[in-house]
Amino acid sequence: MDGEELTEQETALYDRQIRVWGADAQRRLSKSHILVCGLKGTVAEFCKNIVLAGVGSVTLVDDRVVTDESLPANFLILPHENHYNGKTLAEVCCDSLKEFNPMVHVAVETGDISTFGVEFFEKFDAVIISCCSLGKKVLFQKLINQKCRKLSKRVAFYTVECRGSCGEMFVDLQDYKYSKKKLEETIECQIEYPSFEEAISVPWRALPRRVSKLYFAMRVIEQFEDVEGRNPGETSIADRLGVLKLRKELCETNSLDESQIPDALLERLLTDTREFPPVCAIIGGILGQEVIKAISGKGDPLKNFFFFDAMDGKGLIEDISGPSTRS
């Protein structure tokens, strides 16, 4: 048992979910602190999910000013003319999220968190990044992941990106121990996760043969955007040749056959860059579940990438690890 009981209010509100994960897990959730950076549609979905779940607090980071473009997939933004005069995405979403569950503390943090010290991250139990306007997605994610890993406390790290009909999620729980019931016994489990940098550095030829093509395609697009100094999603069909060229180079370096990264898939990722609400709901839901699992210590967490493609409808897990952390 973890100490204080749930209040009567919490028991009544959380009844249906306590029946899923138990009162202990609910208590742990209520003490947890989540940091969220990059308030696009998928992350909005995720925030809604964890606020409803009853986490202790959610801290939002997104200094971008609200514009008409922010509206499409983000239902936390209410389109009133005077509503968002100069307000940032974080501020507007904060107001909306508070309404979903008054028991959750929702706050805003400003600034470039990749420059913040390690002690800033110590406050949190989970950090979720969906890179937006910072131009260097890979570097940004690496930096934050490193900070999370430097702490003696385990801070769970997640990245998420949705483009058109595709979505990708990454999980790093470092050295994760948990227990679960198998039949009548309780067994202890341990999973070692590679860091973000380690994962994306795994040579492609070292990966199992049937790894999702979406993994490779996302890496190509990601590198292309970084090299060209683009914000995530700032691509079009005009970039086709550039991307195919990059693919060729990467495949050569990695001894991977180019057919493993189909043209059609790359084209889709180049042109359909806007978030597609159903995919946001799906990825936001999976992400929500994963964070709840990690915080409550209940349930097998996924390791370490999750992909969804509405084209084939599959939602699959890929283990992208080097030999030391391969399960």
Partner: protein, 648 residues
């Protein structure tokens, strides 16, 4: 995604949502964000506190209001310029008839009960409108697509009926806690606080020896000037003491079973102690009355001792009579009635104690008694996303790409979301393929009323049936029937089948229709003299209607409530209670299961390259990575784990 053609198809579409609850809120939000502009939504419920953990369009201040209306208002806040038409109504109402459904391009279900789903299925078939079905329970979920003539309808794959238990298990030989709950809820609670005119099986002895039902009636009536404490103990002693002693006297019953022990209040709660109970609640509203509060039992997750349960039993009973007298005689069990839940928990636990069955907390007991479906927001969000994806395919008539998608708790071959191609319609489906059914019944003893209640309504899910033999109408329900017909039909209900004006005997063929559902089927009647009272308590056997097999939980729909009530007990136990299994329908299931074919095998056109416009650089088109064998394996292996309840 959302190409130009998709966007225009979406903008033009008129969508009907049935259900504004867990899935409904997520779905309405996602539809609105995806560009849908004309959405209609039907839901008969009002908002409750326990909804707020996932039905995020609702706030505390909305409790008691219509879900459909509040959902609409909430979504209009972030999409003010779309049209959402709410109906605070039951989808089974006659105004939602076939022509109403015909107005829509697609129907999206977010329901939580089998009955309504079957009803909507039939209306969609009659209207020829595509239906996207869905369900969630905890971390599990599924989305299925149904197009008349092209895919299975919702009823092509048998859906198990809600669990019921044999009378004797409930009244005499419980072996599981749920049996004790059913006893406490449907027998004891009903007897004490419900309609006194209702038939009640309490005290029925399994061997049918002379049972002094007159005597029982006296026992349960509170005597004039009787002290409530006295009365409570008298009831306690009768049901937990005396009745157990009577049951024990029948040696036969206990030959292969553990004997229960009788429990008397004086042994558990010596007289003086009860007087110390009860903190008189001065001036509290009748609704807030609670035995737990009165006895200072704080945590609903605690498992009370026999002593505590007994205290709760007596205190709850006392509070009902003292504070809620006007309710007595009218009550049906309501999971949101705290005092009722306390009483049922305590009664079930005392009975369990008597029979050596583990006791449960109020929290657990409430879940069982109230058929509570455990639910979280994330699964509903995922399912809503999948529904919208299918809905868009439907609008574009993207026939080769429809998918049934299963959201798993544990990955299967790396998949957490598993798409499967839909199957072609089941040719033995009595709903969409109009296959006739057969009924074995004793035509001389069975009344038309039983046929209507147990078969037509309960099993076949018809609400407004019309029953004919040839040109002769035996029975119908309707609003504008002539008076003399109404009289005839009422009389017919009380007649045995063979005595009807148009006699129904072996070889008769009855046609049964539901005009609202525009659904009809025929039933071939076969006379049979004897039926096993234990195994076929209904005295009727319907076949050709494929029921789910009893040994596996195949095709169990996710997100359907499971009734534990036992109003008309029959033998359909699906929880592996080995003593009571029946095998009759499993053969029928096996016969048809092998014949299902996937849509892709049926059509001669090859599936288009799902990765989009054909690429220049590839040798092979990107194919769906699912082959036949894998699907069969995946589904039958994993469906078992779908239904294993999570232990807290």
């Amino acid at each position: 995604m959302a190409s130009q053609e998709q966007l225009s198809a979406i903008k033009r579409a008129k969508v009907l949502m049935v259900g504004a609850g867990g899935i409904g809120c997520e779905l309405l939000k996602t539809l609105a964000l995806s560009g849908f502009q004309d959405i209609h939504i039907i839901d008969m419920d009002t908002i409750e506190v326990s909804n707020l953990n996932r039905q995020f369009l609702f706030r505390q201040s909305h409790v008691g209001q219509s879900k459909a209306k509040v959902a609409r208002d909430a979504v209009l806040r972030f999409r003010p310029n779309i049209s959402i038409t709410p109906y605070h109504a039951n989808v089974k109402e006659s105004r939602f008839y076939v022509d109403f459904f015909k107005e829509f391009d697609v129907v999206l279900n977010g329901l939580d009960n089998l009955d309504a789903r079957r009803h909507v299925n039939r209306l969609c078939l009659a209207a020829g409108i595509p239906l996207v079905e869905s369900g969630t329970t905890g971390f599990l979920g599924q989305v299925t697509v149904h197009l008349k003539g092209k895919t299975e309808c919702y009823e092509c794959q048998p859906k198990p009926a809600p669990k019921t238990y044999p009378v004797c298990t409930i009244t005499s030989t419980p072996s599981k806690f749920v049996h004790c709950i059913v006893w406490a809820k449907d027998l004891l609670f009903a007897k004490l606080f419900g309609d006194k005119n209702q038939e009640n099986d309490l005290n029925v002895h399994s061997s049918d020896t002379a049972n002094s039902s007159e005597h029982s009636e006296d026992v349960f009536e509170c005597r004039k000037d009787e002290d409530i404490e006295r009365y409570g103990r008298r009831i306690y002693d009768h049901v937990f003491g005396h009745n157990i002693e009577v049951a024990l006297s029948n040696e036969e019953t206990w030959k292969n079973r553990n004997k229960p022990r009788p429990i008397y209040s004086k042994d558990v709660l010596p007289e003086e102690q009860t007087k110390e109970n009860g903190n008189e609640e001065k001036g509290c509203a009748a609704d807030d009355v609670s035995a737990m509060v009165s006895l200072r039992l704080k945590n609903p997750q605690d498992i009370w001792s026999l002593v505590e349960n007994s205290r709760v039993f007596l205190e709850a009973l006392r509070l009902f009579f003292l504070k809620r007298e006007k309710d007595i005689g009218n009550l049906t069990f309501d999971k949101d009635d705290q005092l009722a839940v306390e009483f049922v928990t305590a009664a079930a636990n005392i009975r369990a104690s008597s029979f050596g069955i583990p006791l449960h907390s109020l929290f657990e007991a409430k879940g069982i008694a109230g058929n509570i479906v455990h639910a979280v927001a994330t699964t509903n969000a995922i399912i809503a996303g999948l529904i919208v994806i299918e809905a868009i395919k439907v609008l574009q008539k993207d026939n080769n790409n429809y998918r049934m998608t299963y959201c798993l708790e544990h990955p299967s071959r790396k998949l957490l979301l598993m798409p499967v191609e839909p199957y072609e319609p089941n040719r033995s489906c009595y709903v969409c393929s109009e296959t006739p059914l057969s009924l074995e019944v004793n035509t001389q003893r069975c009344k038309l009323r039983d046929f209507v209640e147990k078969i037509i309504k309960a099993k076949l899910g018809m609400n407004f049936p019309l029953i004919m033999q040839g040109a002769s109408i035996l029975y119908e329900v309707g609003e504008d029937l002539e008076e003399d017909m109404v009289v005839i039909y009422a009389a017919n209900l009380e007649k045995a089948l063979s005595e009807l004006p148009s006699p129904v005997t072996s070889g008769s063929v009855l046609t049964v229709e539901d005009l609202q559902q525009e659904f009809s089927c025929s039933i071939n009647i076969k006379h049979r003299e004897e039926f096993d009272e234990e195994k076929e308590p209904d005295g009727m056997l319907l076949s050709g209607w494929v029921e789910a097999p009893v040994d596996k939980d195949n095709n169990k729909p996710i997100g359907n409530d499971e009734s534990t009530s036992n109003a008309l007990p029959s033998m359909e136990t699906l929880d592996g209670d080995k003593d009571d299994e029946i095998q009759e329908t499993s053969e029928v299931v096996e016969a048809f299961a092998g014949k299902k074919r996937k849509l892709s095998e049926v059509s001669e056109v090859t599936a288009p390259d799902p990765s989009g416009p054909s690429s220049i650089n590839q040798n092979k088109p990107e194919k769906l990575d699912i082959d036949d064998e894998d699907d069969e394996l995946i589904i039958s292996d994993d469906w078992e784990s779908f239904t294993k309840k999570k232990k807290l």
